[in-house]
């Protein structure tokens, strides 16, 4: 039973990463209706930005996490300029290729700058273990990941529901042209969306970088995982992405412990193909940005 609780706890921590990257992916899908292949790279850039802040600038790790979000957010704006805005109006499929091309560039530039080998991002709380009775134990870093993830989801949900810009974003997601007629600056909403979507992935990278290690290709598998999450939760659905991320993390962790470790990465993929076929709008999905 201890194994069960320990695996479940670890699974939820990993799931929180999936959730944060998937939130960015689903937000950008909700507004642009494109698949952003750079989402995994933004996660990786978040980790490397935090690494540079800690290892070269000797900043506090927590400050580094806070810095990584806006820095990568700005990188996200550049990504939008390069790979999305020149193609507005073209077939949706070309965005997969243009953002994929950009992801390849960014990944290889980071490889050239920092080398292909894993690096360690040090957090002061990475080794402090907290035990929960006899059930399970987590490092303080992992608890920080959980708390931070929940906080980001809460803030984003409130922002979209009540914030001025958040409501404008939902309006653009529902009907871009009508929103523009109502005086909403659609270009500005695009930029805000990309900034937020990039920032959330960056946070995930900076957080998990201190749990594992960081490497230039760390975002690739995560990108595929966040597809799984977003499609299962419904494209454009924030609660769907958040819950979907946790469920996937949990399923992989428990399945890896009890069923098969080698094929645990396949669970989500098989589930996703099933969802695509039976319920293309996702398990929690409705139309529009929620």
């Amino acid at each position: 039973m201890e194994l069960f609780f320990q695996q479940a706890a670890n699974g939820i921590v990993v799931g929180m990463t999936y959730a944060l990257v998937a939130l960015g992916l689903t937000l950008i899908y909700g507004i642009f209706h494109i698949i952003n292949m750079t989402q995994g790279v933004l996660y990786m850039l978040g980790a490397y930005t935090a690494y540079v802040a800690v290892a070269y600038l000797h900043l506090n790790y927590f400050l580094a996490v806070m810095i990584a979000m806006p820095v990568v957010g700005i990188a996200g704006l550049a990504f939008e300029r390069l790979s999305v805005s020149p193609l507005v109006g073209r077939n949706h499929v070309v965005f997969i290729l243009s953002t994929f091309g950009l992801a390849v560039i960014a990944e290889n530039l980071v490889t050239i700058a920092f080398g292909p080998d894993p690096l360690g991002l040090d957090s002061p709380i990475a080794h402090n273990i907290v035990t929960f009775g006899d059930l399970f134990a987590l490092t303080e870093q992992k608890l920080f990941v959980l708390g931070f993830g929940v906080a980001i989801f809460g803030v984003m949900s409130a922002f979209l529901k009540r914030g001025r810009i958040g409501r404008a974003m939902r309006a653009v997601a529902a009907d871009r042209d009508t929103a523009a007629l109502m005086g909403i600056d659609v270009r500005q909403i695009y930029r805000v969306t990309y900034f937020l979507g990039a920032g959330m992935s960056a946070a995930a990278g900076a957080l998990m970088g201190a749990v594992y290690s960081i490497e230039p290709l760390m975002g690739n598998l995560l990108l595929v995982k966040s597809f799984v999450v977003v499609i299962m939760g419904g494209m454009g659905s924030l609660p769907g992405a958040f819950l979907g991320g946790l469920v996937l993390g949990l399923a992989e962790s428990l399945g890896g412990a009890y069923l098969t470790l080698e094929y645990k990465d396949a669970f989500g993929l098989v589930a996703m193909i099933g969802v695509l076929l039976l319920r293309p709008q996702g398990l929690l999905g409705r139309k529009g940005l929620q």
């Binding site: 494109i34 698949i35 390069l82 790979s83 020149p86 193609l87 073209r90 077939n91 949706h92 499929v93 070309v94 997969i96 290729l97 243009s98 994929f100 091309g101 950009l102 992801a103 390849v104 560039i105 990944e107 290889n108 530039l109 490889t111 050239i112 690739n220 595929v224 597809f227 799984v228 499609i231 080698e262 094929y263 990465d265 396949a266 993929l269 098989v270 996703m272 193909i273 695509l276 076929l277 293309p280």
Partner: protein, 326 residues
């Protein structure tokens, strides 16, 4: 004589092109240039297969490279465990890839746009997981070495082994030639019209009675067969296969070749394949920058020249012809 008067596309020009292709490896003696030529032809085949689904039907099969790996492993396993020669392994690779394409296309082709792309990607990821983890069959990430070279028995009793760049060049030229001819025949038939109809407006195509699903499946299976055969040739040329065949490097390279070469044209992907096999070799300093350059060209190609090199060439030819007349 003005360029406009050179009958580049006349039927009398084709034998000259054929002779030029046959003479090409003789002009570049040495194993290394010939190796690059063979590699160009293999990539040309791979890109041609991708182009059938991506260019002509307008569906993006993001997991396409898994068929390349399936073909390579099929041919390899048959050669090592059943003693099948390359000449039987190649068609078997095509058939097995086709069967997988039916299995993957069945569900995936019911989806459209990005969903199709992601669905094929998911199947490919599962395939890569299997290749990496089914150790007894595939030896996992280590790959399988020792794939035998193809050979033919000579009338005199000797054997001729395809082990040098020169013989492989002519072999691949033949395989690619047959592939291009087949694709050309298909596209100039009613099937090509159906593909174009699906690409331009699938709902309308469906409405006028074109069985779109069947045509999409036909194209997808054809793509897979071509990729599978290319995989088989790759395995017997390099004599080693590994899960890397469906990995990032081949995905990026093949997609860039089709995009930059020009989608939905026969010559485009071939041009792209030759250009992108030779280009990185010419820029020797590009070693570590190679993938950066590929990514940049992919992005720039999509943004600035949606019709690719082939489109640029056509525009230039039209301009020359126009000025020739004036």
């Amino acid at each position: 004589m003005k360029w406009a008067h050179v009958p580049l596309r006349s039927r009398w020009a084709w034998p000259f092109y054929g002779l030029a292709l046959l003479a090409l490896p003789l002009v570049f003696p040495g194993e290394y240039p010939r190796h690059l030529l063979v590699l160009s032809l293999m990539f040309a085949m791979l890109a041609t297969g991708l182009n059938v689904t991506m260019g002509f039907i307008g569906y993006l099969p993001f997991g396409y490279l898994i068929f390349f790996a399936i073909g390579a492993y099929t041919s390899t396993l048959l050669a090592l465990h059943a003693g099948l020669s390359f000449w039987l392994g190649l068609p078997c690779a095509g058939i097995v890839s086709a069967l997988f394409a039916v299995g993957i296309g069945g569900p995936s082709l019911r989806l459209r746009g990005p969903y199709f792309a992601i669905s094929t990607l998911a199947f490919a990821e599962i395939g890569v997981l299997v290749l990496n983890n089914w150790m007894d069959l595939t030896r996992g990430p280590m790959g399988i070495p020792g794939v035998p070279r193809p050979f033919i028995l000579l009338p005199g009793g000797g054997t001729f082994v395809f082990d040098a760049g020169l013989s492989w060049y002519y072999l691949m030229l033949g395989i690619l030639g047959v592939t291009l001819l087949g694709v050309h025949r298909l596209l100039t038939s009613r099937v090509g019209d159906a593909f174009a109809a699906i690409r331009e407006n699938e709902d309308l195509a469906e409405a006028v009675g074109i069985p779109t699903f069947r045509y999409k499946m036909l194209g997808f299976v054809l793509s897979a067969i071509i990729a599978g055969c290319a995989g088989s040739a790759y395995a017997h040329y390099f004599t080693i296969v590994s899960p890397e065949l469906a990995g990032f490097y081949f995905v990026i390279t093949t997609f860039t070749m089709v995009i930059i070469g020009g989608q939905a044209t026969l010559a485009g992907p071939v041009l792209g394949a030759v250009a992108f096999t030779l280009l990185p070799e010419l820029l020797r300093a590009a070693k570590i920058w190679r993938m950066v350059i590929f990514g940049a060209l992919m992005l720039a190609g999509i943004v600035f020249m949606p019709r690719g090199l082939r489109g640029l060439a056509a525009d230039a030819a039209a301009r020359v012809r126009g000025s020739g007349r004036a």
